[in-house]
Symmetry: C2
Subunit: 318 residues, 2 copies
Protein backbone atom coordinates (compact mmCIF):
# COMPACT_ATOMS: atom_id res chain seq x y z
CA UNK A 1 0.00 0.00 0.00
CA UNK A 2 1.21 3.51 -0.87
CA UNK A 3 0.15 6.37 1.37
CA UNK A 4 -0.35 9.84 -0.07
CA UNK A 5 -0.36 12.82 2.28
CA UNK A 6 -2.33 15.94 1.28
CA UNK A 7 -1.95 18.69 3.86
CA UNK A 8 -4.16 21.23 2.05
CA UNK A 9 -6.70 19.30 -0.03
CA UNK A 10 -9.21 21.12 -2.19
CA UNK A 11 -12.57 20.83 -3.83
CA UNK A 12 -11.60 21.41 -7.47
CA UNK A 13 -14.39 23.21 -9.30
CA UNK A 14 -14.20 23.50 -13.08
CA UNK A 15 -16.33 26.04 -14.96
CA UNK A 16 -16.78 26.15 -18.72
CA UNK A 17 -17.50 29.50 -20.39
CA UNK A 18 -17.34 30.65 -24.01
CA UNK A 19 -14.81 33.39 -23.12
CA UNK A 20 -13.66 34.80 -19.78
CA UNK A 21 -14.05 38.59 -19.94
CA UNK A 22 -12.94 40.53 -16.85
CA UNK A 23 -15.78 42.84 -15.79
CA UNK A 24 -18.58 40.67 -17.22
CA UNK A 25 -21.26 38.41 -15.73
CA UNK A 26 -20.82 34.83 -17.02
CA UNK A 27 -23.59 32.26 -16.84
CA UNK A 28 -21.67 29.01 -16.52
CA UNK A 29 -22.52 26.39 -19.14
CA UNK A 30 -20.74 23.47 -17.44
CA UNK A 31 -19.78 22.80 -13.83
CA UNK A 32 -17.76 19.91 -12.41
CA UNK A 33 -16.60 19.32 -8.83
CA UNK A 34 -14.00 16.79 -7.82
CA UNK A 35 -11.66 15.98 -4.94
CA UNK A 36 -8.36 17.81 -5.44
CA UNK A 37 -5.06 18.79 -3.97
CA UNK A 38 -1.81 17.35 -5.36
CA UNK A 39 -1.63 14.36 -2.97
CA UNK A 40 -5.25 13.47 -3.74
CA UNK A 41 -4.44 13.56 -7.45
CA UNK A 42 -1.49 11.20 -6.85
CA UNK A 43 -3.82 8.83 -4.96
CA UNK A 44 -6.35 8.85 -7.80
CA UNK A 45 -3.63 8.10 -10.40
CA UNK A 46 -2.25 5.22 -8.27
CA UNK A 47 -5.78 3.84 -7.90
CA UNK A 48 -6.25 4.04 -11.71
CA UNK A 49 -3.03 2.02 -12.10
CA UNK A 50 -4.47 -0.68 -9.81
CA UNK A 51 -2.05 0.15 -6.97
CA UNK A 52 -3.44 -0.09 -3.43
CA UNK A 53 -3.43 3.40 -1.91
CA UNK A 54 -4.56 5.22 1.23
CA UNK A 55 -5.10 8.99 0.96
CA UNK A 56 -4.35 10.74 4.24
CA UNK A 57 -3.77 14.37 5.22
CA UNK A 58 -5.74 17.15 6.87
CA UNK A 59 -9.42 17.63 6.18
CA UNK A 60 -12.59 18.75 7.95
CA UNK A 61 -15.92 20.55 7.73
CA UNK A 62 -18.74 19.91 5.26
CA UNK A 63 -16.46 20.27 2.20
CA UNK A 64 -14.02 17.79 3.79
CA UNK A 65 -16.86 15.32 4.31
CA UNK A 66 -17.86 15.78 0.67
CA UNK A 67 -14.28 15.21 -0.52
CA UNK A 68 -13.89 11.99 1.49
CA UNK A 69 -17.30 10.70 0.29
CA UNK A 70 -16.30 11.37 -3.33
CA UNK A 71 -12.97 9.54 -2.92
CA UNK A 72 -14.91 6.63 -1.48
CA UNK A 73 -17.20 6.73 -4.51
CA UNK A 74 -14.10 6.49 -6.75
CA UNK A 75 -12.93 3.49 -4.69
CA UNK A 76 -9.98 5.38 -3.13
CA UNK A 77 -9.54 4.57 0.58
CA UNK A 78 -9.01 7.68 2.69
CA UNK A 79 -7.93 8.26 6.27
CA UNK A 80 -7.86 12.03 6.80
CA UNK A 81 -7.33 13.74 10.14
CA UNK A 82 -10.34 16.05 10.75
CA UNK A 83 -8.37 19.12 11.82
CA UNK A 84 -9.45 21.82 9.35
CA UNK A 85 -12.62 23.90 9.77
CA UNK A 86 -13.24 23.48 6.05
CA UNK A 87 -11.48 22.28 2.89
CA UNK A 88 -10.69 25.10 0.45
CA UNK A 89 -12.02 25.41 -3.09
CA UNK A 90 -10.02 25.93 -6.26
CA UNK A 91 -11.87 27.29 -9.28
CA UNK A 92 -10.58 26.62 -12.80
CA UNK A 93 -12.29 28.41 -15.67
CA UNK A 94 -11.92 26.72 -19.06
CA UNK A 95 -12.88 29.04 -21.90
CA UNK A 96 -13.86 27.69 -25.30
CA UNK A 97 -11.07 29.85 -26.76
CA UNK A 98 -8.53 27.57 -25.05
CA UNK A 99 -7.45 29.73 -22.09
CA UNK A 100 -7.49 28.21 -18.60
CA UNK A 101 -7.73 30.60 -15.65
CA UNK A 102 -7.27 29.41 -12.06
CA UNK A 103 -8.44 30.94 -8.79
CA UNK A 104 -6.87 29.20 -5.80
CA UNK A 105 -8.14 29.79 -2.27
CA UNK A 106 -5.35 29.76 0.31
CA UNK A 107 -6.86 27.13 2.63
CA UNK A 108 -8.32 27.39 6.11
CA UNK A 109 -6.03 27.39 9.16
CA UNK A 110 -6.65 24.59 11.68
CA UNK A 111 -7.96 25.75 15.06
CA UNK A 112 -4.97 24.02 16.71
CA UNK A 113 -2.11 23.86 14.17
CA UNK A 114 0.35 22.03 16.45
CA UNK A 115 -2.32 19.53 17.49
CA UNK A 116 -3.24 18.99 13.84
CA UNK A 117 0.40 18.32 12.90
CA UNK A 118 0.89 15.88 15.78
CA UNK A 119 -2.35 14.02 15.04
CA UNK A 120 -1.33 13.69 11.39
CA UNK A 121 2.17 12.45 12.27
CA UNK A 122 0.63 9.86 14.59
CA UNK A 123 -1.80 8.76 11.87
CA UNK A 124 1.08 8.50 9.35
CA UNK A 125 3.27 6.48 11.74
CA UNK A 126 0.41 4.01 12.07
CA UNK A 127 -0.24 3.83 8.31
CA UNK A 128 3.50 3.65 7.49
CA UNK A 129 3.71 0.29 9.30
CA UNK A 130 1.70 -1.24 6.45
CA UNK A 131 2.95 0.98 3.61
CA UNK A 132 5.57 0.52 0.89
CA UNK A 133 6.01 4.25 0.13
CA UNK A 134 4.91 7.70 1.35
CA UNK A 135 4.14 10.62 -0.99
CA UNK A 136 3.67 14.14 0.37
CA UNK A 137 2.51 16.71 -2.19
CA UNK A 138 1.23 20.24 -2.36
CA UNK A 139 0.83 23.28 -0.16
CA UNK A 140 0.21 23.62 3.58
CA UNK A 141 -2.83 25.31 5.11
CA UNK A 142 -2.06 28.69 6.74
CA UNK A 143 -0.78 28.35 10.29
CA UNK A 144 0.75 24.88 9.93
CA UNK A 145 4.48 24.59 10.70
CA UNK A 146 6.34 24.39 7.40
CA UNK A 147 8.58 21.64 8.77
CA UNK A 148 5.70 19.13 8.60
CA UNK A 149 6.73 17.59 5.22
CA UNK A 150 10.28 17.12 6.59
CA UNK A 151 8.85 15.39 9.66
CA UNK A 152 6.80 13.11 7.39
CA UNK A 153 10.04 12.20 5.58
CA UNK A 154 11.46 11.18 8.97
CA UNK A 155 8.39 9.01 9.62
CA UNK A 156 8.99 7.24 6.27
CA UNK A 157 12.69 6.84 7.00
CA UNK A 158 11.99 5.22 10.39
CA UNK A 159 9.47 2.86 8.73
CA UNK A 160 12.11 1.95 6.11
CA UNK A 161 10.06 3.14 3.14
CA UNK A 162 10.82 5.72 0.43
CA UNK A 163 9.47 9.28 0.79
CA UNK A 164 8.53 11.12 -2.41
CA UNK A 165 8.20 14.85 -1.79
CA UNK A 166 6.57 17.37 -4.14
CA UNK A 167 6.34 20.59 -2.12
CA UNK A 168 7.50 24.15 -2.73
CA UNK A 169 9.32 26.97 -0.97
CA UNK A 170 10.30 26.74 2.69
CA UNK A 171 8.73 23.26 3.21
CA UNK A 172 10.91 22.03 0.31
CA UNK A 173 14.04 23.63 1.79
CA UNK A 174 13.36 21.95 5.13
CA UNK A 175 12.63 18.60 3.42
CA UNK A 176 16.05 18.76 1.67
CA UNK A 177 17.72 19.00 5.07
CA UNK A 178 15.71 16.01 6.34
CA UNK A 179 17.74 13.73 4.02
CA UNK A 180 16.21 10.45 2.80
CA UNK A 181 13.67 12.21 0.53
CA UNK A 182 13.21 11.77 -3.21
CA UNK A 183 12.38 15.36 -4.17
CA UNK A 184 10.29 16.12 -7.25
CA UNK A 185 10.52 19.87 -7.92
CA UNK A 186 9.59 21.44 -11.24
CA UNK A 187 11.84 24.02 -12.89
CA UNK A 188 10.32 26.98 -11.03
CA UNK A 189 10.47 25.27 -7.63
CA UNK A 190 14.06 24.23 -8.29
CA UNK A 191 15.01 27.78 -9.27
CA UNK A 192 13.34 29.27 -6.18
CA UNK A 193 15.14 26.82 -3.94
CA UNK A 194 18.50 27.21 -5.68
CA UNK A 195 18.21 30.99 -5.86
CA UNK A 196 19.37 31.06 -9.51
CA UNK A 197 17.53 30.70 -12.84
CA UNK A 198 17.22 27.10 -14.02
CA UNK A 199 16.77 26.99 -17.79
CA UNK A 200 18.75 24.44 -19.79
CA UNK A 201 19.73 20.90 -18.81
CA UNK A 202 23.19 22.02 -17.61
CA UNK A 203 21.55 24.34 -15.08
CA UNK A 204 19.15 21.57 -13.98
CA UNK A 205 22.14 19.25 -13.52
CA UNK A 206 23.99 21.83 -11.45
CA UNK A 207 20.98 22.78 -9.29
CA UNK A 208 20.01 19.13 -8.58
CA UNK A 209 23.65 18.44 -7.71
CA UNK A 210 23.61 21.19 -5.09
CA UNK A 211 20.37 19.78 -3.61
CA UNK A 212 21.92 16.33 -3.22
CA UNK A 213 24.97 17.89 -1.56
CA UNK A 214 22.59 19.57 0.90
CA UNK A 215 21.01 16.24 1.89
CA UNK A 216 18.44 15.06 -0.67
CA UNK A 217 18.70 11.35 -1.39
CA UNK A 218 17.58 11.86 -4.98
CA UNK A 219 16.12 14.73 -7.01
CA UNK A 220 13.79 14.18 -9.95
CA UNK A 221 13.31 17.50 -11.70
CA UNK A 222 10.10 17.54 -13.74
CA UNK A 223 10.72 19.64 -16.84
CA UNK A 224 7.38 19.73 -18.67
CA UNK A 225 7.79 19.08 -22.39
CA UNK A 226 11.52 18.39 -21.80
CA UNK A 227 10.70 15.32 -19.68
CA UNK A 228 12.54 14.83 -16.43
CA UNK A 229 16.03 14.56 -15.01
CA UNK A 230 16.76 12.21 -12.11
CA UNK A 231 19.89 12.73 -10.02
CA UNK A 232 20.36 9.70 -7.76
CA UNK A 233 23.17 8.03 -5.79
CA UNK A 234 23.46 5.54 -8.69
CA UNK A 235 23.73 8.07 -11.50
CA UNK A 236 21.91 10.71 -13.50
CA UNK A 237 19.21 9.97 -16.10
CA UNK A 238 17.37 12.21 -18.51
CA UNK A 239 14.08 10.93 -19.93
CA UNK A 240 12.19 12.71 -22.71
CA UNK A 241 8.74 12.19 -24.22
CA UNK A 242 8.75 11.17 -27.89
CA UNK A 243 6.93 14.38 -28.93
CA UNK A 244 5.22 17.34 -27.28
CA UNK A 245 1.80 16.27 -25.96
CA UNK A 246 -0.97 18.84 -26.42
CA UNK A 247 -3.40 19.17 -23.52
CA UNK A 248 -3.66 20.22 -19.91
CA UNK A 249 -0.31 20.11 -18.05
CA UNK A 250 -2.01 20.46 -14.62
CA UNK A 251 -1.60 17.12 -12.89
CA UNK A 252 1.36 15.97 -15.02
CA UNK A 253 3.68 16.33 -12.00
CA UNK A 254 1.23 14.38 -9.83
CA UNK A 255 1.20 11.53 -12.37
CA UNK A 256 5.02 11.55 -12.37
CA UNK A 257 5.04 11.33 -8.55
CA UNK A 258 2.58 8.42 -8.71
CA UNK A 259 4.80 6.59 -11.21
CA UNK A 260 7.94 7.10 -9.07
CA UNK A 261 6.11 5.96 -5.91
CA UNK A 262 4.71 2.87 -7.64
CA UNK A 263 8.08 1.93 -9.14
CA UNK A 264 10.08 2.52 -5.93
CA UNK A 265 7.58 0.58 -3.85
CA UNK A 266 7.83 -2.38 -6.28
CA UNK A 267 11.66 -2.35 -6.33
CA UNK A 268 13.14 -5.71 -5.33
CA UNK A 269 16.37 -4.21 -3.95
CA UNK A 270 15.59 -0.85 -2.31
CA UNK A 271 19.31 0.02 -2.36
CA UNK A 272 19.44 -0.32 -6.17
CA UNK A 273 16.23 0.93 -7.81
CA UNK A 274 16.19 0.68 -11.62
CA UNK A 275 16.22 4.45 -12.20
CA UNK A 276 16.30 4.11 -15.99
CA UNK A 277 13.00 2.25 -15.81
CA UNK A 278 11.54 4.61 -13.19
CA UNK A 279 12.16 7.77 -15.24
CA UNK A 280 10.73 6.06 -18.35
CA UNK A 281 7.55 5.16 -16.44
CA UNK A 282 7.30 8.63 -14.95
CA UNK A 283 7.55 10.41 -18.31
CA UNK A 284 5.06 8.06 -20.00
CA UNK A 285 2.50 8.36 -17.19
CA UNK A 286 3.01 12.10 -16.94
CA UNK A 287 2.40 12.53 -20.70
CA UNK A 288 -0.73 10.39 -20.42
CA UNK A 289 -2.05 12.82 -17.76
CA UNK A 290 -1.62 15.74 -20.16
CA UNK A 291 -4.11 14.02 -22.53
CA UNK A 292 -6.81 14.23 -19.86
CA UNK A 293 -8.61 17.52 -19.26
CA UNK A 294 -8.50 17.25 -15.45
CA UNK A 295 -5.76 16.66 -12.89
CA UNK A 296 -5.79 13.29 -11.14
CA UNK A 297 -6.63 11.31 -14.28
CA UNK A 298 -4.42 9.43 -16.74
CA UNK A 299 -5.06 7.88 -20.12
CA UNK A 300 -3.97 4.26 -19.66
CA UNK A 301 -3.77 3.26 -23.37
CA UNK A 302 -1.50 6.29 -24.10
CA UNK A 303 0.60 5.43 -21.05
CA UNK A 304 1.14 1.85 -22.28
CA UNK A 305 1.96 3.01 -25.80
CA UNK A 306 4.39 5.72 -24.66
CA UNK A 307 6.40 3.54 -22.28
CA UNK A 308 8.29 2.18 -25.31
CA UNK A 309 8.66 5.57 -26.99
CA UNK A 310 10.25 7.55 -24.14
CA UNK A 311 13.99 8.13 -24.72
CA UNK A 312 16.21 7.60 -21.67
CA UNK A 313 19.78 8.80 -21.61
CA UNK A 314 22.40 8.33 -18.88
CA UNK A 315 24.29 11.55 -18.22
CA UNK A 316 27.65 12.10 -16.59
CA UNK A 317 27.12 13.72 -13.19
CA UNK A 318 28.88 17.09 -13.00
Amino acid sequence: MIMTVTLNPAVDVTYRVPTLRPGDVHRITGVERRPGGKGVNVARVLHALGVEVVATGLSGGPTGAWLEAELDRYGVTSSFVPALPEVRTTVTVHADDGTTTSLWEPGHPPADPAGAANALLERCRRLAAGASALVVSGSLPPGVDQVLPARLVAVAERAGIPAIVDVDGEPLRLAVQAGHAVLMPNRDELARLDGAPVGGIDEVLAATGRLCERGAQAVIATLGADGLLARTPLGVWLARPPAPVPGNPTGAGDAAAAAVAAALSATADPARPDWALIVREAVALSASAVCRPVAGEVDLPSYRAWRDLVTVERLEPQ
Copy 2:
Protein backbone atom coordinates in the same frame (compact mmCIF):
# COMPACT_ATOMS: atom_id res chain seq x y z
CA MET B 1 -44.06 39.39 8.76
CA ILE B 2 -42.83 39.60 5.15
CA MET B 3 -42.01 36.36 3.37
CA THR B 4 -39.30 36.25 0.72
CA VAL B 5 -39.23 33.35 -1.74
CA THR B 6 -35.89 32.33 -3.28
CA LEU B 7 -36.34 29.50 -5.77
CA ASN B 8 -32.65 29.24 -6.71
CA PRO B 9 -30.58 30.42 -3.72
CA ALA B 10 -26.81 30.52 -3.90
CA VAL B 11 -23.68 30.46 -1.85
CA ASP B 12 -22.12 33.77 -2.90
CA VAL B 13 -18.33 33.48 -2.90
CA THR B 14 -16.28 36.65 -3.29
CA TYR B 15 -12.61 36.49 -4.27
CA ARG B 16 -10.21 39.41 -4.16
CA VAL B 17 -7.26 39.46 -6.59
CA PRO B 18 -4.87 42.22 -7.68
CA THR B 19 -5.93 41.79 -11.36
CA LEU B 20 -7.91 39.08 -13.12
CA ARG B 21 -5.84 37.88 -16.08
CA PRO B 22 -7.43 35.22 -18.29
CA GLY B 23 -4.96 32.34 -18.68
CA ASP B 24 -3.19 32.92 -15.34
CA VAL B 25 -3.12 31.16 -11.97
CA HIS B 26 -4.36 33.52 -9.22
CA ARG B 27 -3.65 32.90 -5.56
CA ILE B 28 -6.65 34.48 -3.87
CA THR B 29 -5.81 37.08 -1.25
CA GLY B 30 -9.31 37.36 0.27
CA VAL B 31 -12.26 34.96 0.33
CA GLU B 32 -15.76 35.56 1.67
CA ARG B 33 -18.81 33.27 1.57
CA ARG B 34 -22.34 34.38 2.28
CA PRO B 35 -25.92 33.28 1.71
CA GLY B 36 -27.14 34.64 -1.62
CA GLY B 37 -29.81 34.62 -4.25
CA LYS B 38 -31.99 37.69 -4.82
CA GLY B 39 -34.76 36.69 -2.40
CA VAL B 40 -32.21 35.97 0.33
CA ASN B 41 -30.70 39.43 -0.24
CA VAL B 42 -34.17 40.98 0.13
CA ALA B 43 -34.63 39.06 3.41
CA ARG B 44 -31.30 40.30 4.75
CA VAL B 45 -32.12 43.93 3.87
CA LEU B 46 -35.55 43.67 5.53
CA HIS B 47 -33.90 42.18 8.62
CA ALA B 48 -31.40 45.07 8.67
CA LEU B 49 -34.37 47.50 8.60
CA GLY B 50 -35.82 45.77 11.67
CA VAL B 51 -38.72 44.23 9.70
CA GLU B 52 -39.77 40.72 10.69
CA VAL B 53 -39.05 38.38 7.78
CA VAL B 54 -39.14 34.67 6.91
CA ALA B 55 -36.92 33.49 4.04
CA THR B 56 -38.43 30.54 2.21
CA GLY B 57 -37.76 28.87 -1.14
CA LEU B 58 -36.01 25.75 -2.38
CA SER B 59 -32.81 24.50 -0.76
CA GLY B 60 -31.05 21.24 0.05
CA GLY B 61 -27.77 19.36 0.35
CA PRO B 62 -24.73 20.34 2.40
CA THR B 63 -24.50 23.82 0.83
CA GLY B 64 -28.20 24.36 1.58
CA ALA B 65 -27.61 23.39 5.20
CA TRP B 66 -24.71 25.85 5.33
CA LEU B 67 -26.83 28.66 3.83
CA GLU B 68 -29.66 28.13 6.35
CA ALA B 69 -27.20 27.98 9.27
CA GLU B 70 -25.61 31.26 8.12
CA LEU B 71 -29.01 32.99 7.84
CA ASP B 72 -29.74 31.80 11.35
CA ARG B 73 -26.43 33.26 12.50
CA TYR B 74 -27.48 36.63 10.97
CA GLY B 75 -30.79 36.37 12.87
CA VAL B 76 -32.87 35.80 9.69
CA THR B 77 -35.59 33.15 10.17
CA SER B 78 -35.70 30.68 7.29
CA SER B 79 -38.16 27.98 6.26
CA PHE B 80 -36.80 26.41 3.08
CA VAL B 81 -38.22 23.33 1.39
CA PRO B 82 -35.39 20.75 1.11
CA ALA B 83 -35.98 19.78 -2.52
CA LEU B 84 -32.64 20.55 -4.22
CA PRO B 85 -29.70 18.12 -4.22
CA GLU B 86 -27.42 21.08 -3.57
CA VAL B 87 -27.45 24.88 -3.56
CA ARG B 88 -25.41 26.43 -6.39
CA THR B 89 -22.40 28.68 -5.97
CA THR B 90 -21.85 32.08 -7.54
CA VAL B 91 -18.29 33.36 -7.69
CA THR B 92 -17.57 37.10 -7.88
CA VAL B 93 -14.00 38.19 -8.48
CA HIS B 94 -13.19 41.71 -7.29
CA ALA B 95 -9.92 42.95 -8.74
CA ASP B 96 -7.99 45.77 -7.08
CA ASP B 97 -8.18 47.60 -10.44
CA GLY B 98 -11.94 47.99 -9.89
CA THR B 99 -13.33 45.34 -12.26
CA THR B 100 -15.88 42.86 -10.95
CA THR B 101 -16.25 39.56 -12.79
CA SER B 102 -19.07 37.13 -12.01
CA LEU B 103 -19.33 33.39 -12.62
CA TRP B 104 -22.86 32.13 -11.98
CA GLU B 105 -23.60 28.43 -11.75
CA PRO B 106 -27.01 27.53 -13.21
CA GLY B 107 -28.38 25.71 -10.15
CA HIS B 108 -29.13 22.06 -9.55
CA PRO B 109 -32.42 20.53 -10.75
CA PRO B 110 -34.62 19.01 -8.03
CA ALA B 111 -35.03 15.22 -8.26
CA ASP B 112 -38.81 15.74 -8.42
CA PRO B 113 -39.52 19.21 -9.88
CA ALA B 114 -43.33 18.97 -9.66
CA GLY B 115 -43.17 17.67 -6.10
CA ALA B 116 -40.75 20.48 -5.19
CA ALA B 117 -43.10 23.13 -6.63
CA ASN B 118 -46.12 21.69 -4.83
CA ALA B 119 -44.29 21.41 -1.51
CA LEU B 120 -43.15 25.02 -1.85
CA LEU B 121 -46.66 26.26 -2.71
CA GLU B 122 -48.03 24.42 0.32
CA ARG B 123 -45.32 25.94 2.55
CA CYS B 124 -46.07 29.41 1.16
CA ARG B 125 -49.83 29.04 1.69
CA ARG B 126 -49.14 28.24 5.32
CA LEU B 127 -46.69 31.13 5.78
CA ALA B 128 -48.95 33.58 3.89
CA ALA B 129 -51.61 33.19 6.60
CA GLY B 130 -49.31 35.14 8.95
CA ALA B 131 -47.64 37.40 6.37
CA SER B 132 -48.19 41.01 5.30
CA ALA B 133 -46.40 40.71 1.91
CA LEU B 134 -44.74 38.12 -0.33
CA VAL B 135 -41.60 38.81 -2.39
CA VAL B 136 -40.42 36.38 -5.06
CA SER B 137 -37.04 37.20 -6.61
CA GLY B 138 -34.45 35.66 -8.86
CA SER B 139 -34.00 32.70 -11.17
CA LEU B 140 -35.45 29.20 -11.06
CA PRO B 141 -33.39 26.01 -10.81
CA PRO B 142 -33.29 23.97 -14.04
CA GLY B 143 -36.30 21.66 -14.42
CA VAL B 144 -38.73 23.73 -12.34
CA ASP B 145 -41.92 24.87 -14.15
CA GLN B 146 -41.52 28.55 -15.04
CA VAL B 147 -45.09 29.27 -13.94
CA LEU B 148 -44.10 28.87 -10.27
CA PRO B 149 -43.68 32.64 -9.56
CA ALA B 150 -47.14 33.25 -11.11
CA ARG B 151 -48.61 30.56 -8.84
CA LEU B 152 -46.94 32.24 -5.85
CA VAL B 153 -48.64 35.50 -6.87
CA ALA B 154 -51.96 33.64 -6.76
CA VAL B 155 -51.12 32.36 -3.26
CA ALA B 156 -50.52 35.98 -2.14
CA GLU B 157 -53.72 37.17 -3.81
CA ARG B 158 -55.82 34.53 -2.05
CA ALA B 159 -54.19 35.50 1.27
CA GLY B 160 -55.01 39.17 0.56
CA ILE B 161 -51.40 40.37 0.68
CA PRO B 162 -49.28 42.18 -1.93
CA ALA B 163 -46.92 40.16 -4.16
CA ILE B 164 -43.67 41.84 -5.22
CA VAL B 165 -42.10 40.00 -8.16
CA ASP B 166 -38.52 40.45 -9.40
CA VAL B 167 -38.00 37.67 -11.95
CA ASP B 168 -36.88 37.61 -15.57
CA GLY B 169 -37.86 36.10 -18.93
CA GLU B 170 -40.64 33.54 -19.21
CA PRO B 171 -41.42 33.47 -15.45
CA LEU B 172 -41.90 37.28 -15.63
CA ARG B 173 -44.18 36.96 -18.68
CA LEU B 174 -46.30 34.38 -16.85
CA ALA B 175 -46.37 36.51 -13.67
CA VAL B 176 -47.73 39.47 -15.70
CA GLN B 177 -50.67 37.31 -16.77
CA ALA B 178 -51.31 36.25 -13.16
CA GLY B 179 -52.49 39.81 -12.39
CA HIS B 180 -52.23 41.17 -8.82
CA ALA B 181 -48.41 41.38 -8.92
CA VAL B 182 -46.23 44.43 -8.35
CA LEU B 183 -43.49 43.74 -10.90
CA MET B 184 -39.99 45.12 -10.43
CA PRO B 185 -38.08 44.63 -13.69
CA ASN B 186 -34.89 46.48 -14.52
CA ARG B 187 -34.41 48.10 -17.95
CA ASP B 188 -33.01 44.93 -19.58
CA GLU B 189 -35.76 42.70 -18.18
CA LEU B 190 -38.39 45.19 -19.29
CA ALA B 191 -36.92 45.35 -22.79
CA ARG B 192 -36.75 41.54 -23.09
CA LEU B 193 -40.37 41.25 -22.00
CA ASP B 194 -41.59 44.10 -24.18
CA GLY B 195 -39.59 42.95 -27.19
CA ALA B 196 -38.35 46.48 -27.93
CA PRO B 197 -35.39 48.54 -26.66
CA VAL B 198 -36.13 50.52 -23.48
CA GLY B 199 -33.82 53.50 -23.20
CA GLY B 200 -35.28 56.87 -22.16
CA ILE B 201 -38.11 57.58 -19.73
CA ASP B 202 -40.68 57.79 -22.55
CA GLU B 203 -39.86 54.22 -23.56
CA VAL B 204 -40.06 53.09 -19.93
CA LEU B 205 -43.45 54.78 -19.62
CA ALA B 206 -44.71 53.07 -22.76
CA ALA B 207 -43.35 49.61 -21.87
CA THR B 208 -44.73 49.70 -18.30
CA GLY B 209 -48.08 50.85 -19.71
CA ARG B 210 -48.23 47.79 -21.96
CA LEU B 211 -47.40 45.52 -18.98
CA CYS B 212 -50.27 46.96 -16.94
CA GLU B 213 -52.63 46.48 -19.90
CA ARG B 214 -51.53 42.82 -19.98
CA GLY B 215 -52.48 42.32 -16.33
CA ALA B 216 -49.81 43.64 -13.95
CA GLN B 217 -51.27 45.52 -10.99
CA ALA B 218 -48.27 47.84 -10.84
CA VAL B 219 -44.84 48.00 -12.46
CA ILE B 220 -41.85 49.56 -10.75
CA ALA B 221 -39.05 49.79 -13.30
CA THR B 222 -35.64 50.00 -11.59
CA LEU B 223 -33.42 52.23 -13.72
CA GLY B 224 -30.04 52.23 -11.99
CA ALA B 225 -28.58 55.73 -11.71
CA ASP B 226 -31.84 57.13 -13.19
CA GLY B 227 -33.82 55.95 -10.14
CA LEU B 228 -37.11 54.21 -10.69
CA LEU B 229 -40.46 54.69 -12.37
CA ALA B 230 -43.64 53.32 -10.77
CA ARG B 231 -46.74 52.86 -12.91
CA THR B 232 -49.68 52.10 -10.59
CA PRO B 233 -53.50 52.26 -10.72
CA LEU B 234 -53.22 55.57 -8.83
CA GLY B 235 -50.73 57.24 -11.14
CA VAL B 236 -47.15 57.27 -12.37
CA TRP B 237 -44.17 58.46 -10.30
CA LEU B 238 -40.54 58.94 -11.18
CA ALA B 239 -38.02 59.03 -8.32
CA ARG B 240 -34.37 59.96 -8.81
CA PRO B 241 -31.37 59.80 -6.50
CA PRO B 242 -29.82 63.20 -5.69
CA ALA B 243 -26.53 62.23 -7.39
CA PRO B 244 -24.89 59.18 -8.92
CA VAL B 245 -23.69 56.85 -6.13
CA PRO B 246 -20.34 55.19 -6.77
CA GLY B 247 -20.08 51.57 -5.67
CA ASN B 248 -21.42 48.10 -6.38
CA PRO B 249 -24.84 48.10 -8.10
CA THR B 250 -25.36 44.36 -7.42
CA GLY B 251 -28.11 44.14 -4.83
CA ALA B 252 -29.55 47.62 -5.50
CA GLY B 253 -32.66 46.03 -7.05
CA ASP B 254 -33.01 43.70 -4.05
CA ALA B 255 -32.90 46.69 -1.68
CA ALA B 256 -35.57 48.44 -3.79
CA ALA B 257 -37.76 45.31 -3.56
CA ALA B 258 -37.26 45.23 0.22
CA ALA B 259 -38.29 48.90 0.50
CA VAL B 260 -41.42 48.37 -1.62
CA ALA B 261 -42.40 45.27 0.36
CA ALA B 262 -41.86 47.02 3.70
CA ALA B 263 -43.83 50.10 2.63
CA LEU B 264 -46.72 48.15 1.08
CA SER B 265 -46.99 45.88 4.10
CA ALA B 266 -47.15 48.94 6.41
CA THR B 267 -49.80 50.73 4.29
CA ALA B 268 -52.91 51.61 6.31
CA ASP B 269 -55.27 51.47 3.29
CA PRO B 270 -54.11 48.69 0.92
CA ALA B 271 -56.28 50.16 -1.85
CA ARG B 272 -54.45 53.50 -1.70
CA PRO B 273 -50.73 53.02 -1.00
CA ASP B 274 -48.71 56.24 -0.83
CA TRP B 275 -46.69 55.55 -4.00
CA ALA B 276 -44.83 58.86 -3.81
CA LEU B 277 -43.45 57.80 -0.43
CA ILE B 278 -42.82 54.23 -1.56
CA VAL B 279 -40.69 55.24 -4.57
CA ARG B 280 -38.76 57.72 -2.39
CA GLU B 281 -37.99 54.96 0.13
CA ALA B 282 -37.06 52.51 -2.63
CA VAL B 283 -34.58 54.88 -4.29
CA ALA B 284 -32.97 55.88 -0.98
CA LEU B 285 -32.58 52.29 0.20
CA SER B 286 -31.37 51.15 -3.20
CA ALA B 287 -28.70 53.89 -3.27
CA SER B 288 -27.63 52.90 0.25
CA ALA B 289 -27.06 49.33 -1.04
CA VAL B 290 -24.72 50.63 -3.75
CA CYS B 291 -22.45 52.00 -0.98
CA ARG B 292 -21.91 48.47 0.35
CA PRO B 293 -19.49 46.15 -1.41
CA VAL B 294 -21.79 43.11 -1.18
CA ALA B 295 -25.39 42.39 -2.18
CA GLY B 296 -27.85 41.97 0.70
CA GLU B 297 -26.43 44.80 2.78
CA VAL B 298 -27.48 48.44 3.10
CA ASP B 299 -25.88 51.47 4.71
CA LEU B 300 -28.54 52.71 7.14
CA PRO B 301 -27.09 56.19 7.82
CA SER B 302 -26.93 56.89 4.05
CA TYR B 303 -30.47 55.57 3.65
CA ARG B 304 -31.77 57.93 6.34
CA ALA B 305 -29.88 60.89 4.86
CA TRP B 306 -31.01 60.21 1.28
CA ARG B 307 -34.71 59.81 2.03
CA ASP B 308 -34.99 63.61 2.10
CA LEU B 309 -32.78 64.13 -0.96
CA VAL B 310 -34.58 61.89 -3.47
CA THR B 311 -36.63 63.88 -6.00
CA VAL B 312 -40.09 62.50 -6.73
CA GLU B 313 -42.08 63.70 -9.71
CA ARG B 314 -45.61 62.74 -10.70
CA LEU B 315 -45.85 62.06 -14.44
CA GLU B 316 -48.87 62.08 -16.70
CA PRO B 317 -49.63 58.49 -17.72
CA GLN B 318 -49.42 58.11 -21.50
